[in-house]
């Protein structure tokens, strides 16, 4: 069979980088599916794109869709014929299938003989199908903020301006109509806007890439990406430096150009006295430049040298004529000079004041509608930080540092620099704190209290950063919950889920022995005390429990049932223990996961689970661990009862010591040891029936089991654990 190639190029006005990336991704997965829906298979599919075009090359397509044979079941032979004459049912069926009755055949099925229509659907020419499919591929692309243009109602990322569609060497007709404007496919592509303004006639799909290459279009984004990377590092070497190539920036600039040329430009070294983050933000966020650091890299793909200072150069990826690079560099130099001069202006204006002097201005910035100013928020952060320092038993100097950090943590919000570069909040605070003569620790804490800024970010490493970060988020959570603005579904405008996750992760990773529940309780009381407000504690507690659950499952990979076992089932007092001691909650979850893997859990599970399930019928409080205080040995009828009782007495000191030092291995060993007495109790020659008719005996036996359950509860609620298969 002939194998043919289909080439489709959709020419547009400049599409956003993210749309191009998304569209290529969609085409990669959807085109082969669309073909197979139509009984076509391609040998390979190549997908390319630039800001002005989306391209697909489908190789190895048959000239013709295969014929398809179908057998369609009709009426039973019995119903179809009367006296050998076709009846209504037979004639109707034949008509519906577009056949004469004589063309129908008889087939034996397990329900008797039936009439069948044998239908052959002839395959259509592939080119004919592609005319329709290509339209669907184009208009089926999804993206954010699609637009209409001209006087039509079509929606696409940016206006479609030309279509190139080639089936081998033939034009494949595709028509797209938008209002009064009709775009018909042709044999022409467009070259680079200025380097090759003439249309390019594509004579064969196999020559498409090379012909566009000659028209200064590199259609393959991977080649562009690679070329940019190489050029950027090569040009950085010319000034004895190396470029910082942020992957997101590289992805973006790859889709901003059709013919990349790296150009290096310089800026006045006097700007290097600005905080380096300001310079890189100007370069990366505002100008899509690559910053240059001092020192040459070992290899092309090595990571940037840690701590290397900035060199007064930038690298831009131009889409212009490589021969005009020096003119283009000069233009870019003027732009960055103006931008850095702006930043310099803000820096000088800001640093005539100390960071503390900005505080009064925070009173004019609203935190939220009914929740007062940022100034008031800072006051609340300080209070919460105070509670935390007391819980942590910090010394006076540490307390002092943390209180000062809380006081200054938001001051940079009202500086001109953060007004201009909001993404630099915290970074500027840190810098200005140092300029104002604050200690390194305080400056670092100001920066770190915003960490983590996103899911992949670092956690704060310094104690002030940790404590103030927790306090700030706790204040936000309590207050926003307090006025009823709970997150719902995908809507979480105040990023409250992220805030709660951050609190939990900071506590876990820094291993802060904090009672989060008490902190929440105190903060909620403070909140409710101001005016007639509802105390958000119950909702907030459930919210935090849910966060703990998610973090344990998603980030710590703890099995669902083990997380449930740590949190307990329908017992809020038990569940709350996790908030009172988050570290213990995490340790128990991790430990359970470990013993599930090494098999120990399987050993103790039947013992504890059996006891726990029966214990539900009793009424023993969950904190009772000592059998001597509650069990009456005079009620024992069988030695197995005495045996279990003795075993529980032996377990008591082990469990109590485990409560102190959290060495759950000991407890588990104890539970392994008690397996035999429990087994004797239930199944041995001297076993007992727990649900005895005598209520006192029954109660006594249930209590024995409940005490065992209570010991296990120190680790987990075994009722929630799903038996290992």
């Amino acid at each position: 069979m002939d194998k043919n190639t289909f080439l489709l190029e959709v020419g547009t006005e400049e599409m956003p980088a993210t749309f191009v990336a998304g569209a290529l991704h969609q085409w990669r997965s959807q085109i082969s599916a669309s073909l197979s829906d139509h009984f076509l298979t391609a040998e390979s599919i190549e997908v390319y794109g630039t800001p002005r075009r989306l391209v697909v090359l489908v190789h190895g397509l048959p000239a013709q869709q295969p014929d398809r044979h179908e057998e369609i079941k009709g009426p039973s032979l019995q119903a179809a014929f009367t006296n050998g004459q076709p009846g209504k049912a037979a004639i109707g069926f034949a008509q519906k299938q577009g056949l004469g009755v004589e063309q129908l055949v008889t087939r034996l099925t397990d329900k008797g003989e039936f009439l069948f229509a044998l239908k052959r659907t002839p395959g259509q020419p592939t080119s004919q199908l592609l005319s329709h499919l290509a339209y669907e591929w184009i208009m089926g692309l999804e993206g954010k903020r699609l637009m209409r243009w001209g006087d039509g109602d079509l929606k696409f990322s940016r206006p479609i301006r030309w279509l190139l569609a080639l089936w081998q060497e033939q034009l494949l007709p595709i028509t797209i109509t938008n209002g009064t404007e009709t775009m018909v496919s042709g044999l022409y592509s467009q070259g680079h806007r200025v380097l090759h303004p003439q249309p390019v006639e594509i004579t064969h799909s196999s020559r498409y890439q090379s012909q566009l290459q000659s028209a200064f279009i590199q259609v393959n984004p991977l080649h562009r990406r690679h070329s940019i990377q190489e050029q950027v590092q090569a040009i950085a070497r010319t000034v004895g430096g190396h470029a910082v190539i942020y992957p997101e920036l590289l992805d973006e600039v790859t889709h901003l150009v059709e013919w990349p040329t790296a150009i290096i430009g310089a800026y006045d070294p006097e700007f290097l006295n600005l905080p380096p983050e300001v310079i890189t933000t100007v370069m990366v966020t505002h100008q899509r430049y690559f910053p240059v650091l001092q020192g040459e890299l070992g290899g092309e793909l090595s990571a940037p040298i840690h701590g290397a200072p900035l060199l007064p150069y930038f690298i831009t990826i131009s889409n212009g004529d490589p021969a005009k690079s020096s003119l283009i560099a000069a233009g870019n130099e003027r732009v960055i000079r103006a931008r850095l001069a702006d930043a310099q202006f803000f820096y000088q204006a800001d640093t005539t004041h100390s960071l503390e002097e900005f505080l009064p201005k925070l009173e004019q910035v609203t935190f939220q509608d009914t929740l007062g100013s940022m100034g008031q928020k800072v006051g609340r952060i300080q209070e919460i930080a105070g509670c935390i320092t007391r819980q942590l038993n910090l010394n006076a100097q540490q307390q002092q540092t943390i209180l000062r950090t809380s006081l200054l943590c938001k001051a940079d919000l009202v500086t001109q620099m953060v007004g201009e570069f909001p993404e630099l909040q915290g970074v500027i605070g840190q810098n200005y704190a140092l300029v104002s003569g604050e200690s390194e620790e305080i400056a670092c804490g100001i920066f770190e209290h915003y960490l983590p800024r996103n899911a992949d970010d670092f956690l704060p490493q310094s104690l002030p950063g940790q404590v103030v970060g927790i306090s700030d988020r706790l204040d936000t959570l309590v207050n926003i919950f307090g006025i009823g603005l709970l997150p719902s579904g995908s809507s979480d405008p105040f990023a409250l889920r992220r805030a709660a996750n951050a609190i939990i992760n900071i506590i876990w990773s820094a291993r802060l022995p904090l009672n989060l529940f008490t902190l929440l309780e105190n903060t909620c009381i403070q909140f409710a005390a101001k005016g007639e407000r509802q105390n958000p504690l119950p909702v907030l507690r459930d919210f935090f429990i849910q966060r703990v659950r998610n973090l344990l499952q998603d980030e710590r990979s703890i099995d669902y049932d083990l997380v449930q076992a740590v949190l307990g089932d329908n017992d809020s007092t038990y569940t709350q223990l996790v908030l009172q001691d988050l570290l213990n909650g995490l340790d128990r979850a991790l430990f359970l996961q470990t013993i599930r893997h090494n098999g120990t859990l399987g050993q103790i599970y039947p013992t504890v689970n059996r006891a726990s399930r029966l214990a539900i019928h009793g009424d023993l409080p969950k904190e009772v661990l000592n059998p001597a205080s509650i069990i009456n040995p005079h009620l024992f009828l069988e030695p197995s009862e005495q045996g279990l009782y003795d075993a529980l007495l032996q377990l008591l000191p082990i469990t109590q010591s485990c409560q102190m030092d959290r060495d759950y291995q000991k407890l588990v060993a104890g539970l392994v040891a008690i397996a035999q007495p429990v087994s004797d109790f239930f199944d041995g020659p001297h076993s007992v029936l727990v649900m005895d008719e005598n209520p006192d005996i029954r109660h006594n036996r249930l209590n024995l089991l409940a005490i065992l359950r209570n010991h296990a509860l120190i680790l987990a609620d075994f009722n929630c654990i799903v038996k290992d298969s």
């Binding site: 400049e14 956003p16 006087d151 209002g179 233009g331 870019n332 003027r334």
Partner: protein
């Protein structure tokens, strides 16, 4: 020919005379006039952007074709820097081109306008970088680009999707040139004040004192209580004008509300939450005016649809 500040007629050799601020405007006027645009004059109510002129804001609504170009002075009180920041003024000029429906060759035509200004795209790195635009206060949004000339944003390009809360059909294209930036680039000067307005006077000669005084007014001298009162009065007036179905007078008062709000905002007397409410009040008025305009044009049977006006721009 030019006039120096003593009023003496000077003979100017056009070949040698460099580009200046007014010649940039003249060139753009000529360019867009040649391509069928109505050359309109600035609108005499304070506004933050050329989009708010009725030539754009109202004409974007409904099916009638429209092509216009004009200079629009813009006031953004919060951007005042007392003339000390070389690149940021609270009063500046936009060159606005607005065409409905958006023509297919508009990018090429735009690049030709740069050629007319002496910027050969062949010599530069010109990029159309995604930039979507939204003005919540007038219920308008569109998608488009900022045009980069060697890394400098010189024009904002927007396909209007909604205006005054109404879907735009057909879609208009708006191009807003930053006149100061363009001229600074062409004259190779590094500050707005240094722009040569004509052969003898600089931009600073014309506007620097204004920047200082208006910044002082915006940040220090304005009377918030008076401005709050004015806002309420303007809103009342807009409301009663809307009731009387007087579109243009109503729009004037919506613009006054908008500018009044900007002044209050610059003064730092509007909290974040109040901000949202004020914007909501302005948007509600703007939507009513937009709807009113549409109804009015509809009852007039969209007269411009019947005119053979030059709406198709040719490159």
């Amino acid at each position: 020919m030019g006039v120096n500040y003593h009023g003496r007629i000077l003979k100017v050799n056009h070949e040698e005379r460099g580009v200046n601020f007014q010649s940039v405007i003249a060139t753009l006027h000529q360019f867009w006039s040649d391509r069928g645009c109505l050359i309109a004059q600035p609108y005499d109510v304070e506004k933050g952007a050329g989009t708010k002129s009725p030539h754009t804001f109202l004409r974007a609504i409904g099916p009638e074709p429209w092509s216009v170009a004009y200079v629009e002075p813009c006031r953004r009180p919060g951007d005042g820097r007392y003339g000390q920041n070389p690149n940021r003024y609270q009063y500046y000029y936009q060159y606005q081109v607005f065409i409905k429906p958006s023509p297919p060759n508009i990018q090429d035509t735009y690049l030709d306008s740069l050629r007319a200004l002496g910027i050969r795209p062949e010599d530069h790195d010109i990029r159309f970088v995604e930039d979507n635009w939204e003005d919540a206060a007038v219920g308008a949004w569109g998608v488009g680009w900022e045009v980069w000339l060697d890394g400098m944003e010189i024009t904002q390009f927007t396909y209007f999707q909604q205006c005054g809360g109404l879907d735009c059909s057909p879609v208009s294209i708006e191009m807003t040139y930053g006149l100061e930036r363009l001229t600074m680039y062409l004259q190779e000067v590094d500050g707005i004040a240094k722009i040569k307005w004509n052969d003898c006077l600089s931009y600073g000669d014309v506007h620097l004192q204004g920047e200082i005084e208006q910044s002082t007014y915006n940040f220090e001298a304005s009377s918030p209580s008076l401005l709050f009162n004015l806002f309420n009065l303007y809103e009342q007036e807009a409301t009663q004008l809307i009731q009387r179905q007087l579109v243009l007078p109503a729009l004037d008062y919506v613009l006054k509300c908008s500018h009044g709000f900007n002044l209050l905002d610059a003064r730092g007397v509007i909290s974040v939450s109040e901000r949202t409410r004020y914007i909501g009040r302005i948007r509600s008025l703007a939507r009513q005016v937009a709807q009113l305009y549409f109804t009015q044009r509809e009852s007039l049977e969209f007269p411009l649809c019947k005119l053979p006006i030059a709406s198709q721009i040719t490159g």
